[in-house]
């Protein structure tokens, strides 16, 4: 079942005036459900309270005139997972590169963790973890060395850093391979190491650029579980993906990117609801006669606002704005036609339908996205 993370309200992390810990502070105790109880965020010019990422009108044109970004704007509330969804070349990775200070936008502004990515790049770098699309694992170093080096660059050291590395290796199931060079790791292990590297200094915002591309289904499921855990611990995550299912499952808010622009934005449910097209499938106890079908069709239109009603044998199909909510009206319409329902199914539109609507073509099936609908048996 998909789990969603409702946006944490900005007050979920009460600013505490206590002295902020040094980066080498011991790891916080496990607190699966507690909201982040950390110290106050850096007293940077937090322009808009509660926003971990704000991008406004980002543009980027590469040498040769390729326009990679054509005015990208979005905002990510602190403590939520935001998905940038789109095909390869849509501008997702370019956006991540700008937000992580790796690249410089041609125009527009962006703040991450309250800091301007251009003028306060150093502070942004202090606040983020990056798991980039191309990985960032040094293949000639061991898993532990990879993590420790990243910690050192962040100014961590000594026993605190060693303990943090052990902790991450343990958590990502890499303890047994900790002292092997990463070249020998499987794709799934390397990706986990990537995430561990991104977390060593306890970032405020984690960028995951296509974290599951190229992973086998099992490794992908593990990665999803891990991202879920991070999200539930209150970390702000920007996730790019070309897997619809991944965005649907992990992200509270999704922006569909195409041709360097955002073509649709909202929660996966909102985007799907905007299509006004849940499918309702009814199974009747008996094949209705033509008169009953026409009464049923009219009643469904009148009572449930249904469109595209069709009947084949005992099966009746209709599209309604909100399938689950309109079921009582649907049942009433069936009763009006003097018919009996034996089963009813509501199928929500998938993000694939959303994508189709906004991008004008179906998502590449080769991307491995789950083309199925999210189906709920209701009767």
């Amino acid at each position: 079942m998909p789990r969603r993370h409702s946006p944490t309200s900005p007050t979920a992390a009460p600013p505490s005036p206590s002295a902020p810990p040094s980066p080498s502070a011991p790891p916080s105790p496990p607190s699966p459900s507690a909201p982040p109880s950390g110290p106050a965020p850096p007293s940077g010019p937090a322009a808009t309270a509660g926003l971990a990422i704000e991008a406004t009108g980002l543009t980027k044109t590469y040498a040769g005139g390729v326009r990679a970004l054509d005015g990208i704007s979005f905002a990510v509330p602190a403590g939520t997972v935001f998905g940038l969804l789109g095909p390869n070349g849509a501008g997702k990775s370019t956006t991540v590169k700008i937000l992580t200070t790796l690249s410089r936008a041609g125009g527009g502004k962006a703040r991450v963790a309250g800091f301007d990515v251009d003028r306060q790049a150093a502070l942004v770098r202090r606040s983020i973890g990056l798991v980039s699309q191309a990985s960032g694992v040094d293949p000639e170093a061991t898993g532990r060395e990879n993590i420790v080096l990243q910690g050192r660059l962040h100014g961590m050291r000594g026993p605190a850093l060693a303990a943090r590395a052990d902790e991450l290796l343990e958590r990502f199931g890499l303890a047994g391979a900790a002292d092997r060079v990463a070249r020998t790791y499987s794709g799934g292990m390397a990706r986990k190491l990537d995430v561990a590297i991104g977390l060593v200094q306890r970032p405020r915002v984690l960028f995951l650029d296509e974290p599951t591309t190229g992973l086998d289904p099992e490794a992908r499921a593990e990665m999803w579980a891990e991202i879920d855990r991070l999200a539930q611990a209150g970390l702000t995550i920007l996730l790019t993906t070309h897997y619809l299912e991944e965005a649907d499952r992990l992200a509270a808010q999704v922006a569909i990117v195409e041709g360097g622009r955002i073509v649709a934005q909202g929660s996966p449910d909102e985007l799907k609801s905007a299509l006004r097209g849940d499918a309702v499938h009814l199974s009747l106890a008996a094949v209705p006669d033509a008169g009953a079908v026409s009464v049923l069709t009219a009643a469904l239109r009148a009572r449930a606002g249904a469109t595209e009603v069709s009947a084949e044998g005992r099966q009746v199909h209709a599209r309604v704005a909100d399938g689950a909510a309109s079921l009582p009206a649907v049942f009433a319409a069936v009763a009006e036609a003097g018919l009996v329902v034996t089963a009813a199914t509501v199928a929500r539109p998938s993000l694939d339908d959303v994508y189709l609507r906004h991008v004008g073509r179906r998502f590449a099936a080769g991307a491995g996205a789950d083309p199925g609908t999210e189906t709920r048996e209701v009767a």
Binding site: P30, P42, G44, S103, R104, R171
Partner: protein
């Protein structure tokens, strides 16, 4: 360490060091985090570890370091008989030259590590962390210094075995080699950031190393050079290094010559390193 797997690390996402004292933070200005020295040192350690884990590469490099001296020694040994050459043994003359040529070759490939890091994604990971840009260059130079010290030591010992004589200031040969290697490695790093592909870097290194070696007094005394080459040598850092090293190895070191040439080299190394650091902003624009 925490084995409670349900949420052993409820990462506290707000744990970030205080940011109050930022210096107004111009983009690539003083970055916070570990100090420049510490970051450079750990990046050096990273490269040394990788080197030690590639025994094949290591042994080929060592063989390469010892092959030039006997090779050139037998090829050119009659050259000391040329009137005006003025050295007792060709190995006396040749050893500093081979030291510098080997230093050029080793350090010329420094940028290859940068390109490998770009390919593997490590570069972006380092750049998105608060790693100072200069630390990335300095880390690479630290590695170069270690490698060149060992390599130069081997060649000096080999020269001694083949009959070269060393004066009291011979340790300065190593200093000259390191400074020359710094110049070449920093330029190689900077070039790597600009061209971002192996082929271009290989071409550039091959284009420069041998001509610069032969446009210096590494192999042949200036007294027997054509005039135009003698003029070129005055502006060739390879020649500065060879001249300083040769004087340092002699029985009567000429301190003014040594100091002057090492000074030029140090200044050029500094400029090269700063240029390489600047190349990161070009790299960023191209990203």
């Amino acid at each position: 360490m925490a084995t409670d797997t349900t949420l052993s690390v409820a990462d506290d996402p707000t744990t970030v060091p205080p940011a109050g004292g930022d210096t107004g933070g111009g983009g690539d200005g003083p970055e916070r985090g570990a100090s420049l020295l510490s970051q450079s040192a750990w990046l050096t350690v990273r490269q040394l570890r990788a080197l030690l884990r590639q025994p094949a590469y290591l042994s080929i490099s060592l063989v390469q370091a010892v092959i030039w001296l006997p090779l050139f020694g037998s090829l050119f040994h009659k050259v000391v008989d040329v009137p005006g050459f003025g050295s007792r043994s060709y190995f006396d003359y040749l050893t500093p030259g081979v030291v510098m040529m080997s230093a050029m070759f080793s350090s010329g490939w420094s940028g290859m590590s940068m390109i490998n890091d770009m390919t593997s994604g490590v570069m972006n990971r380092l750049l998105a962390a608060p790693a100072r840009r200069l630390a990335l260059i300095a880390g690479s130079l630290g590695y170069t210094a270690v490698v060149i010290t060992i390599q130069t030591g081997i060649i000096i010992l080999l020269g001694w075995a083949l009959g070269a004589h060393y004066g009291p200031a011979s340790a300065l040969i190593v200093v000259a080699a390191i400074l020359l290697a710094f110049v070449v490695a920093a330029l190689s790093d900077g070039l790597a950031l600009l061209v971002r592909q192996e082929e271009s870097l290989i071409a550039a290194v091959n284009f420069l190393v041998l001509p610069l070696t032969f446009l210096s007094s590494a192999m042949v005394s200036k007294t027997v050079m054509p005039g135009w080459i003698r003029t070129v040598t005055r502006f060739n850092p390879v020649d500065w290094a060879v001249t300083a090293a040769r004087s340092a190895a002699s029985a009567h070191p000429d301190w003014a010559t040594i100091g002057g040439h090492l000074g030029y080299l140090a200044a050029l190394a500094l400029v090269s390193a700063l240029l390489a650091g600047r190349a990161f902003s070009v790299y960023r624009r191209a990203m």
